[in-house]
Homo-oligomer: 457 residues x 3
C-alpha cells in the first residue's frame, strides 16, 4: 500500500496515480491498483538486465524505456569530441563473454550477469593458464558470495568479475576466455527533458545511466527522476525543470561543456541517486553550502520528523563534483538514502531488484516532490504598503470567529508576511521565523495577493 | 521602602526623590517619605477610574493628569484624517450605560466599572429578551468572576461585558439596555514631550493611552514614562528624548504619518508597557535584532543578575509593530515585565490598582533609567594618538599606588579605551571585551578626555 | 635526549642539529651530541649574568652574544630621539652597588645579583638610617626568600631589591648605600636580522632584551628567536623574515616609529617570550583575532595533541600591544608557555637558569619552527582548469594501486585542492575542510603544480 505520510502538505497530494477500481457491479474483474512506487519498481525490473556503460547500446535501450514515460530529447556525441579537459571516449559494446575450462564447461558467462565482464573490457579470445587468468579476475574477498562491479574506462584491458568463492575454487587447468566486445569510434548517448515554466529559472535533476545491473545504484535514481518529470510536466510551475539522464562524470562534463551558457539559469539542482533501498535520507550540500536548495532540502527533511543526515560538500561522489567545480559552483546538492559505499550491497551483484522496494521508491519520490514543491513556492514577496501595518479590517482580512485557531494562525501569517516581505526574506525564511506551517503561510499569501497588499518578486 | 539594588552604577543614584524628613527638633510632624514608586502608584490610582478609549474625553483627562508631571504638547487630529492606509476614526464618548431587569433593578452599570460597556459601543436604548441580550454580552468563561475588557473599534455594534457567573445567573426576563454614547466626527488626542539634548539623535519612549480601567496594562507604562521624562528633563543629556502618550495602533500610525521626516533622528526606542505587576523583565528585540538598543537592554538586564527573558521580534504586540514595520524598521524594542496574555489578570477587571505595586513600579523605573543612562553614555570615541601607546606616565595617568586594585583597573581601562577607540567600538563593546565595570571605564574615559588622548565621536 | 615528537610533519625534520658521533674505530673520543635545545640553554647561561635594562652596555653585550649566532644589524638610537608620543630615554649604566652596615659588612651587593639594584636606579652614596633605607628597599612579602625584579624608568629614584627575610632581619643601625650608576645622554641599542625571501611579505619575530638576570623572561625568547633565525637563514623561503631583539615598549615604539613605512609588509608576526619553563603553550591572538597567524598557530597547536590555551587579545602584555595599537593593528600574536604573572618565579630571582630546560627550549623551538613552516606553506593556489574536474588519468595522477591508503588520500587531496583552489581558500583551509594531513595535501600540491593544474597565487 502506498503510504500517505509524506503527502499531507503537498498540493499535488490529491493526484496520486491510483486508478479507481471498477465497481463490482460492472461485471469487470477488479484491476489491482498500481502506485507510483510500484510503477517505478517495474521500470527498474525492465532496466535491470540491460548492460549499460558510459557509452553503447545499453544506454540507448535505457533511454528508450525512459522515453516511454517522458518525451526525452536524445543526444549522441561523437567519440573524440573535446569537452573541457576530456575527450568523449570510444563507444563500447559487447555481445558475449565467457570463461570455459579445459573440459569445455562454461564457468562464467556474461549472459548470466553483465557484471561478470569488466566494464569497458577489451575483446579477447585465447587460452590461458590459471595464473594468467587470475590476473584478469576481480573479486570482493570480504563478501565471497558476491560478484563485484568493476570498470576500466581509461586503461584498455580485459577482465572478468567473479565471486571470491568461485575464484578460490578454480583448479590448475587451462581456460578459454572469450569477450566479444568492441571499442570503436562511435557516440556517447544521453537524454534530456526540459519542462518550461513561468520563468527561465531552472531546477536541474540529474540521474546517471552508466551502471549496468545495479538496481539501487542507479536505476532507482533514473526511475524517481523519470516519474518526477512526468508529474511536473502535468502542471504549470514557476520554475523551469531540466531532467538529465547521462553517464556519470563524462556525461556531466559533456553536458556542461555543450551547455555552458545555459548554466546561468540553473538556480537549484539535485543529483538523484540511491533512492530505492531503505535507509535514512542523506543530503550532501552544494559547494555553496548555504544555497536556497540547501536551505529547502534541510527544512523539508526536518519537517519530515524522521531520521536524516546532512553533510557538507566534498569534491568526490556523483556529478555534483562537476556541477560544483569551482568554475561553475552551481547550487546543486545530492539527495540519496544511505550514501555510496555505506551499504553492504554497494557495487556488487547484491544490488539487485530485490534490494529496492516500491515503498522506498515511493517515499523517495514523495520527498523529492515535496522539495521541488517547496523550491517552487519559496520566493520573495514585497509588501507594497510597508509603512505601518495596512488596515486589514477594511479589507475583510480579519477572521470572522475570534477563537478559531486556524483563523488566528492565518491572521498571524498575514502579519508575518507583511512585516518580512521586504524583498530579502523568502517564504521559507518567514516560515521558520514565525514557526507557522507552510500551509498556513500559503493561505495568507493568497489572501494578501488578492488584496494587492503583496506582490511576488 | 525603595530598594537601592539597581542604582549602584547609575550617576543619578544620588538623586532619589526622597524629601529629607524634618528634624524632630523643628517641632513639625514628620511627613512620610514618598518614593518615585509611590508617586507612580498614586498617579495610577488617579488615572484608573477614567474611561479611556482610542479617542474621547477620557484620553484628554488622562493627558491632563500627565501634564501635571511633565509639560506635554497636546495634539488633536480630526476624524477622517488619512494616515497611511488608515483614517482617524470617529470620536467616541460615553455618559452612561446600564442594563435593568423587568423589575427596574440595575444589574450592570458603567458607573460601577467602565469595563462593563464594550469599548466603542454604539448607543442603544431598547428592551430586549434574554436571548437577544445574550448576543450582546461578553464574558471570560474560564475566569467566571471577572469582567473582560473588549472593544469593537471598526465594526459598529453595542454590547456589555459581564462576569460569566452573572451571565449564567440571568433569568428569562425582558431587559432594558441603555448606552448613552456618541460616535461622531471629532478628534483623536495624543501628547508628546520632547526634551532636546546635545545632539539631534533621539531616544523614543512610547506608552499607549487607550485602555480604560486596567492598571498594569497600561497605566503602569504611562506612569513610568511620565516620571522618566521628568527625571531626564532635569539634566543635560547627549541624546534628545521624545516621550509619546497615544492610543495603540492608530496613535502610532498617526504619529508616524505626521512625523515621517523626523523618524530619521530616532536612534533608539522602547515601548513601555506592563511595568507594575511583579514578574521577570521581558525584552522583545527590535526587528533589526542587533540594534544598539537591543545590545544595551540585554547587557543591562544581564548585569542586573536577576531573571529576565529576551525574545526575538514578532510582528504583533504593541506599537513596536508599527515602528518596526518594514517601511520604517526603526530600532525600537519593547520592555515589559510578564508579557501580554501571559498573566491571568490580563484584559480583565482583575488588572486593577491592587495588582500593581509601588515597589515593582520603582524597579521598572530604575531599570529604564539605567538603560537610558547606558544608551546615553554608550558611544564611540577616537584615540587621537593611535600609533603605539601614548606615554601615560608623562601625563600623570599612572596610578600612584601600585597595589591599588581600582587604580590598576583604571589603568587597564585606559589601555582598553585607547586600543579599541578606533571609531568602531562603543563603550559598551569595550566594557564587554575588557570585562571591566562600566564605572571604571567611565573614570578612564574622563581621564583620557582631559588628557586630550580621546575625543568623542 | 631531543624528542622527535614535534618534527614528524616538518620538512626540516631531517635537519636536526645533531653532529654524527665519530665512529669508535676512528680512535677519537666520542663527543656528546648537542641538540639545539642544549645550545639554546648554553646561550642563556652566557646571557644570564649580564645586567640588562632598556638601554646600556648590558644590552650591547647581549646583542654581541646573539651576533655570534646570526649576523645582527645593530642600531644605536640617541637619547631624546622622538618616537611617536615618547622620547628615547637617557642611557643607564652601572658599575657597582652595595649596602654596608655600620660594621662595614656588605649585606647586599649588585655583584651577587644584578636584581639587587632597582633597574634605572639613580646614583647614590650616603649613610642612612634603617627607616630611610627601608623606603628604598623592594621585596616580595609573599615569597620571602626571593629577590624581586623592579625598575623605575620614568621616575628618577634609587633603590635596592632584597628578599623579604633579609628586609625583616635588618637591625636598627646606620647603613652606607652606594650605587655607582650613570643616567646620561647616550643611546638605546637594538638588533635586527632580516632574511629576504622569495616575496616581500614579511614574518616578524620579536624578542625583548631589557630584562636582567631572568632566564625564562626573556632569555628564553632571545635564544629561541636567535636559533630560529639561524635555521631559517639556511634555506629559501617564500616569506621574508625579520627578527627583532630590542627593549620592551620603548624598543618596539622606536622600531615602529623608524620603520613605519615598512610595516605594510608585515603579514604575520609573533612575540617570542617565556619559552624555557615547562608549561602548556599559550597563544594570545592578534588584535585582528582572525588573522592568518591566529589561524595557523591555533591549528598547529591543535594538531600537537597536547594541552594548550588560546586567549583573545588584550591591550597589555608584551610588544604586541604596540604592534596591535589601533594605528598599526598588525597581525601579531604572542606565543609563550605559561604566561607572565602566572608562574611563581615570575619577576624574581627564582627565574634563573635552573628554571629553564634544554628540553622545553627544544619543544618551543620545534613548535615555532612548525608554525613558521605552516605560515610559509599556507597560501592560496588557483586551479587553472576550474570547469569540471581535469582528467587526472591522462596525466598519470591516479594512484597505481587501488587499495593503497596513502595513494587514495593523495587522490582525495588532489580533488580537494582542485575544487577549493579558487583564490579564496588557503592550504590550511583545505586541510581543515578535508580533514587530511598537511603532509598528504603537500604531496598533492606538488603533483598538481608539476602537472600545471595549479598555480600559486
Amino acid at each position: 500500500m502506498e503510504t500517505d505520510a509524506y503527502i499531507i502538505e503537498s498540493p499535488q497530494s490529491g493526484q496520486k496515480e491510483v486508478e479507481q477500481p471498477k465497481s463490482p457491479e460492472s461485471g469487470i474483474m477488479e484491476q489491482p491498483v498500481q502506485t507510483t512506487g510500484q510503477k517505478m519498481h517495474e521500470l527498474i525490473r525492465q532496466l535491470y538486465p540491460i548492460c549499460r556503460s558510459i557509452t553503447g547500446n545499453g544506454v540507448r535501450k535505457t533511454l528508450d524505456l525512459v522515453s516511454e514515460i517522458i518525451p526525452l530529447d536524445r543526444y549522441e556525441i561523437p567519440t573524440g569530441t573535446q569537452v573541457f579537459d576530456w575527450d568523449v571516449p570510444k563507444e563500447w559494446n559487447i555481445k558475449e563473454g565467457w570463461i570455459k575450462n579445459s573440459r569445455g564447461e562454461t564457468i562464467v558467462d556474461f549472459a548470466w550477469s553483465n557484471l561478470h565482464v569488466l566494464g569497458y573490457s577489451a575483446p579477447v579470445h585465447k587460452t590461458v593458464t590459471l595464473d594468467e587468468l587470475k590476473e584478469h579476475l576481480y573479486t570482493v574477498p570480504g563478501q565471497p558470495d558476491l560478484v563485484p562491479y568493476r570498470t576500466s574506462y581509461y586503461e584498455e584491458k580485459w577482465g572478468f568479475c567473479v565471486s571470491h568463492n568461485q575464484f578460490q575454487s578454480l583448479t590448475d587447468d587451462t581456460y578459454e576466455v572469450f569477450i566479444d566486445s568492441t571499442l570503436e569510434k562511435g557516440y556517447m548517448s544521453f537524454g534530456e527533458y526540459f519542462i518550461p515554466g513561468e520563468t527561465s529559472d531552472e531546477v536541474l535533476i540529474s540521474a546517471y545511466t552508466c551502471h549496468p545491473s545495479l538496481a539501487n545504484d542507479n536505476l532507482s535514481g533514473i526511475a524517481v527522476a523519470a516519474f518526477l518529470a512526468r508529474e511536473i510536466s502535468k502542471k504549470k510551475h514557476r520554475h523551469s525543470y531540466r531532467f538529465l539522464f547521462m553517464p556519470a562524470t563524462i556525461g556531466a562534463i559533456t553536458w556542461l561543456s555543450l551547455n555552458e551558457r545555459r548554466t546561468k539559469f540553473i538556480k537549484h539542482g539535485l543529483v538523484a541517486s540511491l533512492l530505492g533501498r531503505p535507509g535514512a535520507f542523506t543530503y550532501k550540500r552544494s559547494r555553496l553550502g548555504n544555497a536556497d536548495i540547501d536551505h529547502v532540502v534541510e527544512t523539508v527533511l526536518k519537517m519530515s520528523h524522521r531520521p536524516y543526515e546532512v553533510r557538507d560538500f566534498t569534491p568526490y561522489g556523483y556529478d555534483e563534483r562537476q556541477f560544483c567545480s569551482p568554475g561553475f559552483n552551481l547550487p546543486v546538492g545530492c539527495l540519496t538514502r544511505t550514501p555510496s559505499g555505506e551499504f553492504p550491497e554497494y557495487h556488487t551483484s547484491a544490488d539487485n531488484t530485490d534490494l529496492v522496494t516500491a515503498e522506498t521508491l515511493q517515499e523517495s519520490f514523495d520527498m523529492y516532490r515535496k522539495i521541488l514543491h517547496m523550491i517552487d513556492v519559496n520566493r520573495r514577496y514585497l509588501n507594497v504598503n510597508p509603512k505601518c501595518e495596512p488596515h486589514l479590517g477594511k479589507r475583510g482580512l480579519y477572521p470572522n470567529v475570534g477563537g478559531d485557531r486556524t483563523g488566528q494562525d492565518i491572521q498571524m501569517a498575514m502579519l508575518w508576511m507583511l512585516n518580512y516581505s521586504d524583498g530579502s526574506h523568502t517564504t521559507l525564511d518567514i516560515c521558520e521565523k514565525s514557526g507557522l506551517e507552510y500551509s498556513v503561510i500559503d493561505i495568507a499569501i493568497k489572501k494578501l495577493l488578492e488584496s494587492k497588499l503583496l506582490i511576488g518578486l
